[in-house]
Amino acid sequence: MANKKQPRMKVAEQPPLTRIDNFLEVALGYSYEEAKIEALRCIDCKTPRCVQACPVGVKIPEFIKYLLEGALDSAFETIYEDNILPSICGRVCPQESQCEGACIMCIKHEPINIGALERFVGDYGREHNLAQSEINAETGRKVAIVGSGPAGLANAAALRKKGHDVTIFEALHEYGGVLTYGIPEFRLPKSIVKDEIDNLKTMGVKLMKNVIVGKSITIEQLKEEGYEAIFVGSGAGLPSALNIPGENYNGVYFANEFLTRVNLMRSQDFPSSATPIKIGSKVGVVGGGNVAMDAARTAKRIGADEVMIIYRRDMDNLPARREEVAHAMAEGITMNVLHNPVEIYGENYEVTSVKCEKMTLGEKDASGRRRPVPTGEFETFDLDNLIVAIGQKPNPILKSSTPDLKTHDWGGIITDETHQTSMNGVFAGGDAVSGAATVILAMGAGKEAAEHMDHYLKTR
């Protein structure tokens, strides 16, 4: 029987003072007992709002019921039908603006912790190797996938299940896209990403690293090699710049460089890993999204004493997951909102301080959020490093080598309702199409595109 008055079950966490010295996961997840207590709060709505708000429509009340019945295998299978990466999405989805944000319990109480329940079931499935998919009879049709981020992984899994001969080409030396080089270990252990990749290998998906489509091999050349359909999931990797004086000084990092040095190159283990990183005592991070929070919390873990977020809107408008903002603040990261950097000062070509203009919020802008308006008042902060995390645009490499691939002015690949691009047989999805978004949206796009690609292969 659902228990409405029961408060939301807390998720155990590493204490802030311990965790700022390590890269282990911060949120420890539910035990089975805790998961059941939380699951009991779900009132099993007739028309579940949570499901409608999940971008891939995970059958939430259904998996929760199985969980309560102790049928964890069925719970896993229920989620897996819609979401092949539950361990990952349970950890990183912005649940407050998706499933949990719509949960009926929000109205009077607190929403069901769907993320933590999904994580619990996903981890159970990984531990028990439940993600075994049936592969249809081999069709012998070759499909190429550009990029091994969540869009590419989901696309590969879906097309492989249909029996196609699938190869993923990845530019970097490790697979996973942002899951590997962007999101830090303390939020998403790399062993989970690796498990998911291994899963694909078991299914018979081929993976090739160190291949940059557009450079090493062009789309045309892929077609010549017999790839009949191509999916582009190349993400939004190109960092946006502040375009203010001093941005190229030493000590100013783009978040991608900073996070890549740590997550991909393991510079926190320097010198046993050969790639160094430098962090001073005082660090500023410009931006208010997940990338900014990840950079700030990483800076703290590799030795910064004081870390400050610098963001031009206010606390209510921080785009980061709410949990990450809370975790960051508990770790001692300060939030300098309503500040916008205008100039970076340096000595001997190394950053020493940043001058910010104080902002106030004005009318709503196109995004529906109140526009930050300059006040003409300034404040300067002394800093040893400044990390710029103000957004990313789609990676331009593929476009520049593929003139027929139509893109928007801002770089996003143009697709039709079947996810097909301006090129016949070339489909696309994820951040490369939408601009920087979320893991679940990228995954959903990859999966949906797979349906259309399968249709394309069968009817061409």
């Binding site: 530019a171 970097l172 030396h173 080089y181 090739m208 690293k209 160190n210 291949v211 940059i212 450079k215 090493s216 091999i217 062009t218 050349q221 990797g237 190109l238 960092p239 710049a241 375009n243 941005e247 190229n248 030493n250 000590g251 990092y253 783009f254 991608n256 460089e257 890549t260 040095r261 190159m265 393991r266 283990d269 320097f270 010198p271 046993s272 890993s273 050969a274 790639t275 160094p276 430098k278 001997n348 070509y349 190394e350 990676n395 331009p396 490499i397 520049s400």
Partner: protein, 273 residues
């Protein structure tokens, strides 16, 4: 696996290697570079493609520090962990009647395919190569085989003219109608070569070598200031119009990790200096 097919010692500091890498060789052109990792905990380092055939790629590297020393320890039959490319924009071979190529040290390697391309396009090609001394000078005979005029300078005068490459460059700019300069080498050398070319009103291309990680435009580590604007050397370059480059900023950015690079060398058993 990226197997080492051939290895040659060009001098005490510089090796040539041919590496089996069909995915890189296929679309390689002069001016492109690769990024490699010697081993699983290695750093990603960029090296210019010095030549290629259908399935293999040549590199010429100077042993500067940890990663290039580690690479130098590999022998024929060994392999490197990762090898990706071709990266960057292919060299822009301009419509010029007469060009002067200027190389310092290991810069002679990336300059070679570009000069060959100019020659094939019908330009009159003069090349100046400079080195510390005669033993460190590389690719002399390869240049002699096709250039119209070859000039050599060494810091100690052990071969060719004593002094820096800028002296013969200035002379040639004064005395000939050469209309374009391509300079590749240490940043300081490129800076002076670019200044000299500019003084004499000639166009100049340089090849920039900032610190890189991914080489795909993702990290922003390789940013350089050209004509007051920020450019990514790995996707917009590495070749740029030398008249507008902020060479001083580039030198500072290259030196940002010098202390850490030294730490890494100690790992290889280096002490002192």
């Amino acid at each position: 696996m990226y197997t080492i097919l051939k290895k040659e010692r060009l001098n005490d500091l510089v090796d040539f290697m041919r590496i089996d890498a069909p995915m890189v060789a296929r679309n390689a052109k002069p001016g492109h570079f690769i990024i490699l990792r010697v081993d699983a905990d290695g750093e990603r380092i960029p090296l210019t493609i010095a030549g290629h055939d259908a399935t293999s790629v040549d590199i010429i590297y100077q042993k500067m520090g940890y990663s290039t020393e580690r690479l130098g320890q590999k022998e024929v039959g060994d392999s490197v962990e990762d090898f990706v490319g071709p990266l960057g924009q292919a060299a822009h071979i301009r419509d010029k009647k007469s060009v002067i190529g200027v190389a310092g040290g290991v810069g002679a390697a990336p300059l070679l395919p570009q000069m060959k391309a100019y020659k094939e396009k019908g330009a009159y090609v003069r090349v100046i190569i400079g080195a510390k001394n005669k033993d460190l000078l590389i690719l002399k005979s390869q240049y002699e085989a096709f250039v119209d005029e070859l000039y050599i300078t060494t810091d100690d005068g052990s071969l060719g003219e004593k002094g820096m490459v800028t002296a013969p460059l200035e002379r040639l700019l004064k005395e000939t109608a050469a209309d374009h300069v391509v300079a590749i080498g240490p940043v300081m050398m490129m800076k002076f070569a670019a200044q000299t070319a500019k003084t004499y009103g000639r166009s100049v291309d340089v090849s920039l070598n900032p610190i890189m990680i991914d080489g795909t435009g993702m990290c922003g580590n390789c940013r350089v200031t050209v004509d007051g604007k920020t450019r990514f050397a790995c996707i917009d370059g590495p070749d740029f119009d030398g008249a507008d480059v902020d060479f001083d900023g580039l030198m500072k950015r290259q030196a940002y990790y010098s202390l850490e690079e030294h730490t890494c060398k100690i790992k290889l058993g280096y002490h002192g200096e």
